[in-house]
């Protein structure tokens, strides 16, 4: 039984220029309860934009300690994380709904060892596609090849020329690109896309923090090859959640999907920074970075 409420919060001090660092965050603890409202979900993001002097919000597993919403009673566990969370709806919707993959097609995934990328690669393999991933360390590339079943993978930091790396992996070109990074990688991919290719734009993480963004030479390839680029957000596909569960649960039960998590413990500036960097190319994590706030 809870005798007191402790709200430990990691606060964003101010807007961040460039890559966030630990000193941009600050931990406060109060004993005031926090009012939470349940969002309808289908029309707006689950996480609001981060605002200076406010706590960093996240998606997780929580225990209800009090509620005036009849849908929730004390002791209930409320969840939205792991392989059945929004990250995975992102991979599912971005790959199946936006890219309309067909058996035998070639698929390239950037930031492929990340939370979304690893699942896209596995979905593509289940579909009978040829899948190549890029990542930023030897350890991540090994994970793609040896644990997640990618057909090929490369460390983009060690490739002197991204175009050559893609031509080596895709001598006949790319049908589907699951875009997480943007910039020079997108430019090299455009040059290697096949006619009627599809690009699901999930992120352009290499570009957000740049004051002057990479110059792309190959945007006209969008016309020359009749390419579709589609930006999307998982919350636009909330209505597909039941279909997603029906699709994914058998694979999980049969252990045909691997999901790699990188778990750190304790809510503080350092661990929250790791969560923030997870969705960047600067993350050192391998797989989805998860923060364990408390053990029950």
């Amino acid at each position: 039984m809870e005798t007191s409420v402790r709200n430990k919060q990691v606060i964003l001090r101010d807007y961040v220029k460039g890559i966030p660092k630990e000193s941009d965050l600050m931990v406060v603890t109060s004993s005031d309860p926090v009012d939470l409202k349940v969002k309808p979900g289908s029309e707006e993001p689950l996480i609001d934009a981060f605002v200076p002097s406010n706590p960093i919000s996240g998606i997780g597993v929580s225990k209800v300690i009090d509620s005036d919403d009849p849908a929730f009673t004390k002791g209930d566990l409320v969840w939205a994380t792991g392989i059945l969370g929004m990250i995975d709806l992102t991979a599912y919707a971005g790959f199946y709904e936006i890219c309309s993959p067909k058996k035998g097609e070639t698929v390239f995934v950037s930031a492929a060892s990340g939370a979304v990328g690893q699942l896209v690669g596995e979905f593509a393999k289940l579909m009978g596609c040829y899948v190549v991933g890029s990542a930023g360390s030897k350890q991540k590339v090994d994970l793609l090849l040896n644990k997640l079943g990618f057909d090929d993978a490369f460390n983009y930091k060690e490739e002197p020329d991204l175009d050559s790396a893609l031509k080596r992996c895709f001598p006949k070109g790319i049908d589907i690109y699951f875009e997480n990074v943007g910039g020079k990688m997108l430019d090299a991919v455009l040059l290697n896309m096949r006619t009627s290719g599809r690009i699901s734009v999930c992120g352009m993480i290499s570009q957000y923090h740049l004051e002057t963004r990479d110059r792309l030479q190959n945007l006209p390839d969008i016309i020359f090859k009749r390419i579709k680029l589609q930006g999307f957000a998982s919350y636009d596909f909330m209505d597909r959640f039941p279909k997603f569960l029906e699709f994914v649960l058998p694979y999980i039960k049969e252990k045909k999907l691997t999901y790699v998590e990188d778990i750190v413990e304790g809510l503080d500036s350092k661990t929250v920074l790791l969560l923030l960097l997870d969705s960047s190319i600067y993350g050192q994590n391998v797989g989805k970075q998860v923060l364990k706030v408390a053990q029950e």
Copy 2:
């Protein structure tokens, strides 16, 4: 009755760097007949890529003088030009099929007085959209406002800041952008797109001849606003041609569609250059540039 055959051809001397000029072309006349094959149409471009030392090809109205294909007999007129040609299927497919317009939406068309742009604007008005066009001269802007029924228009060459021009014309943002030019205009448009906006990529004419293409700052808006960009070519939509005719013929009969043509006479380097420049922002033509080879 034809007593002799004269094949006047305008030859491309060599690949062109930058903008084509009259000296890149050369006129030859031979009396040998030219073998023509009828293309199936739905799978490949009607016009092949221009190859040095070969004639510049084009789409037009021709008279059959001899044929071993039973589908064509001497004296037949074979056509593929004007408002019922490929240009117009381009406008139709690019607007209706790719942009899925809805009544009341805001539509921006660049190179709006050109062959495709003028029709897209008129289709958008027929649909009940708010339509703004950009063009490169006062005369073209006047045409958009006074003859083609655009709600607003601006001369991009006289706008010190394209972002401001778009914000003035679209205070609530752009739902649909029919892209003909690319580069800085696309960058400004991305900043002004609304959530779930659609960009039909028909051309990026401002970029093709540049060795170093414009740097875009706003590509991440594709994610932030979940924008779709789709490159396309009219020959991908040949199967929609009957549907297109069914749609467009009543409007033509009721004179609800205006189509402005800029006709020049005589097949020579100068007139063919005008045709080539028609599909560029360097064209001085107002409306679709048409070349009259001969009068019957």
